[in-house]
Structures are given as C-alpha cells and as structure tokens.
C-alpha cells in the first residue's frame, strides 16, 4: 500500500480516489502552511499535483524543500491548455484527461522507485556509519598504543564507545590489583540515585555470573566500589530512572587470556544493530591488550622499585657496618701496638706472643671488612679504579715477601718465574696486587705442609687460550695477553665445583668439615677485578693433586685503553654518552655542563679529565638523558663551540642511546667540527 498525498482539483479528486482506493490517501486541506504541515506528518511516498491549482509552482517548490530527504515522488497531472514551464520539478507526468491504466502504472512504478530510493538511502546511512565506526576504531587503536596509564586507557575506551555507539548510559566496572574496584558511569542525562545503585548491583551480578562455575579472578569487597560518574548534559531536566534498564543493551567483559580487567555495559533507547555489536566487541577487545601491558608494566616497575630499595639498603648496611667496625678496631690496634713497642712498660715474651696474635687477627678482620666493602662497591658500580700504564713485575716480586711469614709457618716454598720482560699494561696497580695476593693466599690456605706454590708470568696470544675453560661471563679475547698462573699442590677442586668457587661466600666444603678460614669473598672480588681489566680467569685442577689458577690481562693498545675507560664509565654512570675533546675545550665545556646540572662528575672522571700530562685526549661523560634535556646540552655545546671554534672532536655512543639520540649528538659533533 502506497501513501499518496493529493493536491488536486475537486473534479479530478472524485475520479482519482476511486481509482486509487486501495492506497492510503490524504487530501490537501487549507492554505499552503497547513498543507506543508499535513505533508510533514503524513510523509507520503507520492504526491499528486494538478497544475491547475493556485500558485502551483511555488507550492511545489515549498513541498520539495521540506521533503528533501524523503525521496518523495512528485507526479504532475497536466492540463495541456495551461502553460507550465516548471515541469522539471516533477518526477513524473500524467496527461489529463486521466486514463485509469496510465495513472495506476505510473503510481505503481514511482512507488517502486520510492521504495528503492529509501533502501538505498538506508544502506548509505549504514555504510557511512560503519565507515565512521571504523575510523574511530582505527584512531582508538593508535591512542591505545600510546599509553600505559590504566585510567587513561579506560577514558579512551569510553570516549570511543560514545562516538561510535552513542549510548545513553555506559557502566564500566573495573578491577585494580592494588585498590578498590571502580565503577565508571557515563550518561547523557543525570541518572537517579536508584539507577546508580541498580547499575552497581547489575555490574557486580554480571561479573559474578560470568564466573559462576569457577573462582572469581578478583575477589573484592563490593560495598567498597568507588563510583566515578560523568553526565554529559548535566543542565537538562531529563533524568534517567530505573526504567532505563529496559533499554537495548550491549554487554562484554574486558579480558585477554586469563587476565580479567572488568565488565562493560551500554544502554541505548534505540536498538543496536549487528554492526554496533561488532564494533563494541572490537573496542572491548582492543582495550584489553594495552591493559595487560599496563598491568605487566606496573608489576615490573613496582618489583624494580622494591629491588632497587633493597639493593640500596643492603649496600648502605654493608657500608655502615664496615665503617662502624673499623672505627673501634683502630684504637684496639693502636693500643696493642703501644704495648708491643714497650713504650707503656716492659712485657714478657709470652705476652708479646699473644698480643702479636691479637694484632694479626685484627689485620685479618680488617681484611674481611675491606673485602665486604669492595664487594658492596662492585655490586653498586662504585668501585673506583684508577687505570695507569703499569709494570706489574714489582707486584709479582713483592708476593714472595708478603707471604714469606705465612709460607714459612707451613714450610711452603713460593717460586716465582717470569719468563720474559713484561710489557706495561693499563691497570689499577693496587687492584692488580689484590688479584695476585688473593690468588696466592687462597693457594696457601689449601696447600699442605711442605708444599710448593709456583707463580709464573709470560706473554701469550689469545689463540693460545682454551676458551672453553674460561669462567663466564667473559669478554671476547683478542691480541696479546700477560698470563699469570698460580699453581699449588694442594687438595685440588672437583671439576663441577670450579665455577662455584667464584660465587659469593662459597667454599666447597660445608662449614662442619672445613678447617680453613676466610669467608670466600676473595675469589669473587678477584673475578670482578679481572673483568674490570678486560681480562679472564680459568682454573686447571685435579683433586688431591693441586690447582692452577690462570689469569690473563690484556696488553694495552689505544683501543683497549679506551674500551676500559668506557666500560668503567658504563659501570660508574649507567647509561652514558661520551664526547671526546681535547684539553682546552673540555674544561670549559665541563664547567658549562656542570653549571646547568647536566653533568655529574665523580672523582674518577674528574681525574681522567684533568690529568693534563698523561694523555692527550680526554673524555667527557654525559649521562644518558631525555631528549628534552638534550636540547639544553645541545644549546650549551652550541654556545660553547661558537666561543672556542673547536676543530678536533669525536663521539662514541653507548648502547643505551637510541638512533634518534645518535642523530642529535651527531648534529652537535658537526657543530663542534665546524
């Protein structure tokens, strides 16, 4: 049945009403304005207009303007004796006098056209809506990717749903690991108190229903739900009552895998389409992935914070304890020395013996404290190494003297064999001595009465080293090395125990049957010190026959020297970039960077930087910084360079820098170079 509006003369009317009696008809009544109102309410498929009516052209134009979007077909009934030059306004024409068959077929075909147009219009509308939804989804997904802030993610999600699914009410119940659950209520008009309560209960019910047969992923106190409510048109008088719950609704959980974050429900007065459901599911699914990342990120950063704190407490504890232990040890040692010296009165040889014993043990205790402190420094990256080109031969020769007394007590012979003149290496002499004496004292501990310890030194090639024996982690060995080996004929070590002896506090035999002193920190520190010197260590050992500890330390070339400075800087500063400048430029630059608090020089870097005589080139250590503060450095260096018009410079980046940083720093270098 077609809806037809008749704007025709009375003569034509009776005839047409009869022909079209099977359709829904309405006759025009009154003046133009009334007619327009009638059409608006009736929304006809076809309007029949007789060209003889008063003001025909104007009337038709008005009708067309109000019925613009409705695809209404306008058909003229034409008296040929009346001039009509506005026929182009019509969709169809019928000549008068009227022929029944022509009228019916014209009406019929235009009714079909109207229906097709309506369908087309609907499809178009759907299509543009889908396109819009897709567009929003696309934008949303890039927004999701841009943040790890949980509440921001929910905001983006709700906004996306508002744009694509134009809800009246959205109710989002969210669970947090560390805080109360939150119910986000976003509505167009204000909700009533009852509705808020109902939505709260409903979301909890929805949630519990999902897990009827299994444990709830978040078992929270639901009386404690925090409500965050936002009303779009807070000034409107309309209020959503509890009846709104009967609106069409969409519901989905927010989850990915086993990670469950919450539930979403949308309400809308007009029904949702199948496409809307797809869009809704897409959004809830999209938000779950970044939420999981955010959750993992939160977990990792909180664990990290805890670990950092613990690490700090531990190292502070060690530091304080060792300080507190040393201070009282000092007057004890001094007092014993005074008594031993005879200055406080004569003492018997027996007393002298016991006081010497006390003194020896104070030295041992203070050695242990020193080890503890070193270990704590190594772990916190604060070990202060002073590298210099050094001849290690004297420290090897000193070993025999240092351990003479202990060796004599057990009648152990310490042999020293230096096969050739040893070249200088880039090293911290004090630490090299520590490495050697740790190894020899370790051997002395495990070598029986009348044993022998052989200390050998020679220059070898890296290819002569069996890399499978090295204690890990070790660096790639290249070029020439000084090899120092300490061989004993002691109790030996089982093959599987060898890596363990470099662990903290390890001594292979358990406390009950061990008869050697020492907490076993020595080898751990030794290994760390060797690592810092870019060397390596391995152990050849046979049970009951003895062990041989082998250390290799690299002969230094410019590259090795630089590498050691760099690796030390990495330990000391974490992430760094390094600018190499010559002496004159660097002091000015450092001062400028320091002024702007962009550079923290520690004692070490300062020594390297200000050591005028020893080396020609110097390094400025710049901690890895964000690009925003990088601008400040950039400007500083820029200003500085104009002043000094530098010519020689170079830069090396640490792995911690991104490519982007590299480009930025490259720019600085170009400026420095020009």
């Amino acid at each position: 049945m077609t809806k037809i509006f008749l704007l025709i003369s009375e003569e034509a009317n009776s005839q047409i009403e009869n022909i079209l009696k099977n359709n829904e008809l309405m006759e025009a009544q009154g003046e133009l304005e009334d007619i327009l109102t009638q059409i608006h309410h009736f929304s006809p498929d076809i309007i029949l207009v007789e060209n003889s009516i008063k003001n025909c052209e104007f009337t038709v134009r008005q009708i067309k303007s109000i019925a613009k979007n409705q695809n209404t077909q306008i058909i003229f009934l034409i008296h040929e004796d009346i001039e009509t030059d506005f026929l182009n306004l019509a969709d169809g024409l019928i000549n008068l006098p009227l022929r029944e068959d022509i009228l019916l077929s014209t009406i019929n075909s235009h009714s079909k056209i109207k229906k097709s147009l309506d369908r087309l219009y609907e499809n178009n509308k759907e299509l543009s809506k889908s396109l819009y939804q897709l567009n929003v989804l696309y934008n949303t997904s890039s927004q999701f990717a841009g943040t790890l802030n949980t509440s921001k993610l929910y905001e983006i999600m709700i906004e996306a749903m508002e744009k694509t699914l134009s809800f009246d009410i959205s109710s989002v119940l969210i669970f947090n690991q560390f805080s109360k659950p939150v119910l986000y209520l976003n509505t167009i008009h204000a909700p009533s108190e009852n509705l808020i309560d109902a939505l709260k209960i409903r979301s909890v019910l929805n949630y519990k229903t999902m897990f009827e047969n299994s444990a709830l992923p978040h078992n929270k106190d639901f009386d404690e739900i925090e409500i965050v409510q936002k009303t779009k048109q807070s000034r409107s008088n309309k209020i959503y009552t509890i009846d709104s719950l009967s609106y069409d609704s969409l519901f989905a959980p927010i989850k990915v895998g086993d990670d469950f974050f919450g539930v979403v429900e949308l309400f809308r007065q007009t029904p949702y389409s199948a496409e809307d459901v797809t869009c809704f599911q897409a959004i809830t699914h999209q938000v779950a992935l970044p939420l999981r990342s955010a959750k993992l990120y939160e977990e990792i950063s909180s664990t990290n914070k805890k670990l950092e704190k613990l690490e700090k407490i531990k190292s502070e504890f060690v530091s304080i304890v060792s300080h507190e232990l040393r201070t009282p040890l000092t007057p004890i040692n001094n007092s014993l020395e005074i008594v031993l010296s005879g200055q406080a009165g004569e003492i018997t040889p027996e007393a002298q013996n016991f006081i010497s014993m006390a003194k020896r043990n104070i030295q041992r205790l203070s050695g242990i404290i020193e080890d503890l402190l070193d270990l704590s420094r190594i772990q916190t990256g604060k070990l202060d190494l002073k590298y210099k080109l050094t001849d290690i031969t004297p420290s090897l020769e000193l070993l025999q003297k240092t351990f003479l007394q202990v060796a004599q007590e057990k009648n152990i012979t310490i042999n020293l064999e230096i096969k050739q003149k040893l070249p200088e290496i880039y090293a911290d002499l004090r630490r090299i001595e520590q490495i050697f004496s740790n190894l020899v004292s370790n051997s002395l501990k495990f070598t029986p009465q009348d044993g022998t310890i052989n200390v050998k030194a020679e220059v070898i090639l890296s290819s002569e080293i069996d890399k499978t024996k090295l204690i890990s982690p070790y660096i790639d060995l290249k070029g020439q090395y000084i090899k120092i080996s300490v061989q004993d004929n002691g109790i030996g070590i089982k093959k599987e125990d060898i890596p363990k002896i470099f662990d903290k506090f390890s001594q292979i035999e358990t406390s009950l049957n061990r008869n050697k002193g020492g907490v076993g920190l020595g080898l751990t520190i030794t290994k760390q010190l060797i690592d810092s010197h870019l060397g390596a260590i391995w152990v050849d050992s046979e049970e009951k026959k003895g062990s041989c500890f082998n250390v290799v330390l690299p002969l230094s070339d410019d590259f090795k020297i630089f590498e050691m400075d760099l690796s030390h800087a990495l330990i000391a500063f974490g992430d760094v970039g390094i600018i190499k400048l010559n002496y004159n430029k660097r002091i000015e630059l450092i001062e400028l960077l320091k002024e702007q608090k962009l550079l923290n020089l520690t004692r070490l870097s300062k020594e390297i930087l200000f050591d005028k005589n020893e080396r020609k080139e110097y390094w400025v250590y710049i901690p890895k910084i964000s690009l925003s503060s990088f601008d400040a450095i950039y400007r500083t260096i820029e200003d500085f360079c104009i002043k000094i018009s530098s010519t020689e410079s170079d830069i090396i980046l640490s792995k911690a820098h991104s490519e982007k940083d590299g480009i930025e720093i490259g720019k600085i270098i170009n400026i420095l170079n020009n």
Binding site: R326, T330, N333, N334, E337, S341, Q343, L601
Partner: protein, 125 residues
C-alpha cells in the same frame, strides 16, 4: 719540636695516636670535632694536621678544603684518616687537596712514614 694537630671525634684514637707521636718526639695538640679542629688549625700554628673524615659539625674534607684553598694555610700538610665508607665516597666528589690518606685501622709505622715525608726533623728531637 714539630707540632702535630690531631682532629678526630674518637677520643681513643686521638689518645693512642698522640701517645705514640709524643714518644717519637712530636708535640701534639688535639681537637674532638670539626669546628674546634679548624679553629686550632688556624690559630695554633701546627706543622702538620691529621684529620678524620666523618666528624660532627664540620666534616674532615670540608676542613681540608677550607685550609688548602686559603693561601695562609695551604702549605700545612694534611693527612686524612678515612674509613673508606660509602658516606665518605659521597663527600669526596670534589677535590680536597689532602696530601695523604690512611685507612682505618692503620699501622702506626704507616702514619710515621707518611709524616716523615713532610717533617724530616721530627724524629730527631
């Protein structure tokens, strides 16, 4: 007789150290906190100062810097006594200008050897 100023808040360390130094023929004056130490360093004309690092009121590094950056006092040799703790590591960020360091607990012979670098005649008195 060469005069040595010992500054340390640990009275036992000051007492044992000054006992031995006196036995070796030095004159000793003592201070038990940073403020007193700085005051004596400036007004009592010591030939050498032995300074503890961690002390109440003014720490040893600061005293050292104050003296070394003052033309009037910069030639007085300074020996720092350090416990090599991390609290001290933090303080040492800037140059102190100290001439020697000795680590607790120290051997008296080490102290004497370091003093003798600066006060050659001390022992002969």
């Amino acid at each position: 007789m060469k005069k040595i100023l010992i500054v340390d808040d640990e009275k036992d360390i000051v007492e044992t150290l000054s006992f031995m130094l006196k036995a070796k023929g030095f004159e000793c004056i003592c201070a038990y906190d940073g403020e007193e130490g700085l005051n004596l360093a400036k007004n009592a004309n010591p030939d050498l100062v032995i300074l503890d690092v961690m002390m109440p009121k003014i720490n040893g590094y600061k005293i050292c810097r104050l003296l070394k950056f003052d033309n009037k006092y910069k030639n007085i040799p300074i020996i720092m006594i350090t416990a090599r703790s991390q609290d001290e590591d933090k303080l040492i960020g800037e140059e102190t200008g100290a001439d020697e360091y000795i680590t607790k607990p120290f051997e008296f012979s080490d102290v004497l050897e370091k003093i003798s670098k600066y006060l050659k005649q001390g022992e002969t008195v």
